[in-house]
Symmetry: C2
Amino acid sequence: MPLENDLLLRTIRKEKTERTPVWLMRQAGRILPEYRSVRNSLSGFKELVETPELAAEVTIQPVDILNVDAAIIFSDILVIPEAMGLSYEMVEKKGPWFPETIKTKADLTHLHVAEAEDVSYTIRAIEVTKKELNGRVPIIGFAGAPWTIFAYMVEGSGSKTFSKARALLYTDPVLTHKLLQMITESTVNYLMGQVNAGVNVVQVFDSWAGILSPYQYEEFSLPYISQICDAIQEVPKTVFAKDAYFARASFNKLDCHTVGLDWCMDVQESRELIPDKVLQGNFDPCALYGSEEEIAHNVKTMLKAFGPFHHIANLGHGVYPDTDPEKVKFFVQTVKEMSQNLR
Amino acid sequence: MPLENDLLLRTIRKEKTERTPVWLMRQAGRILPEYRSVRNSLSGFKELVETPELAAEVTIQPVDILNVDAAIIFSDILVIPEAMGLSYEMVEKKGPWFPETIKTKADLTHLHVAEAEDVSYTIRAIEVTKKELNGRVPIIGFAGAPWTIFAYMVEGSGSKTFSKARALLYTDPVLTHKLLQMITESTVNYLMGQVNAGVNVVQVFDSWAGILSPYQYEEFSLPYISQICDAIQEVPKTVFAKDAYFARASFNKLDCHTVGLDWCMDVQESRELIPDKVLQGNFDPCALYGSEEEIAHNVKTMLKAFGPFHHIANLGHGVYPDTDPEKVKFFVQTVKEMSQNLR
């Protein structure tokens, strides 16, 4: 079935388009009252992730309410460690917490390479979303990058320094590579399941890329992202590695189509370092706290920096929970109108 | 009185030295049992900061125990907001917390530009340290960069995103600049007080530099750091702005002598961007969790990357609290021996 709005896909194919496509990282969830009313009827975040009909509902909400050019499936990057055998809890206002963590080689014996079926709830949520969206906009699937997943599995929770996870890179690189490889294979299986269920694009999130040195990133993160990109040939791939400014030239060599930028990455410099890819980003989520006039000014700055083509407008990170949805609507509408006028 | 060990100062003056000097950010405190025994006899962290004799004692501990080439005065960057009229509490295991924060212009009326006398306990701690150290090694004074202090005064605590502080840059740049200027003048007064009390070097810590875009950094952080550098002409100045990779070329233009690097900054690239300054850093604090063999290997990598001169060995961030002091001793000793042998 052809898509009603395929602007995102045409942009990724580097076609000349009538305007710049726009969506927001974390658009499904937290900022929308409609999301919170679904969420509050449940026992917790994970119940929502694991209930396909409801996950599909909150996936579609921003398409209806915010008028974005793509839906991104509502799920969590930590479904992968859970599918591998390491379960987590989502602690209200604190974030994820793993009762068990990976410390030694022996801990790997409790893990297995996950199959897509191990995350059947998200696969099913994609199928429901596909049916209900009925071709209105493309669906983006996603997974965490192996390094980021590894960081949680070893650290056991979010952290300012991820010092336990980073320590393991020094103290046991063999175990590190073994676990990264297991995560990578699990992620490929999972993303292929998403592709088979109908996503049009996949995005790999390396949220904790920026705490590795450039050399560590080349050794412990990039090769695994590269494996994932190579394994998925059916749909275009986006890589977003927050704060990994040092890896931009390397991203240009990946078999991916789009590279996401955070708001600290200079656009012109990034264009020079990543000349072959479509770029996605990089509006500062904080700029959405400004007035409409200020938002419009900053949208213009962003659009002029990226230029009319090979750009998918987005934030430089996930939208912050206390952002006014009206400001987000204004942002989306402004990108649409202004990018058309600037052509 | 001439210093017994002036290696740090000779390095900063770009003299050819017999070996590379070494000290560690956060060397005074947390990792040493000798520190904890002083700390545990008190009601809290702030009592230690505010008791000159004890602050001097823990300042000198790492010189005795770790054999570092400099002492850095034990204090906290948040003494400045407190001296300006905004008090904070140090919550055990959570970090700093401000009962009141800056939200509007009206909140500024409760603040004043601080004088060095408003932080008399740290000034006195420097005098005591100076006397007790008796010229063994130089003393480093320090303060937070105005942007980082601003971030805490507006946010009210540590934060992953500092979204309230960053929002104010968009919603009220006039208030932002006014507060930044007040912090800057307070910081100059405070650092001049430290200089008069006898510190040999001052370091400005911009801990939250990396969450600003390059444009915001040029507008809201650099001009204020520059004012501080210009105002202090009596001793050499070091600027350490964590994660501000994008500002390295700008740091080269500051009236400072040394620029600190975090472990994510490539040394060669940084040498090219900051050719005129001595560089300080940038050993990954996590590498201290490794074996002695691994530490020696990584020290060698660091020393070879920086080369024999214009380098002060240090970590790329503060030493992590659970680091084994024996590993730190080994690190210090290895830098000393290896840098001598590599000449």
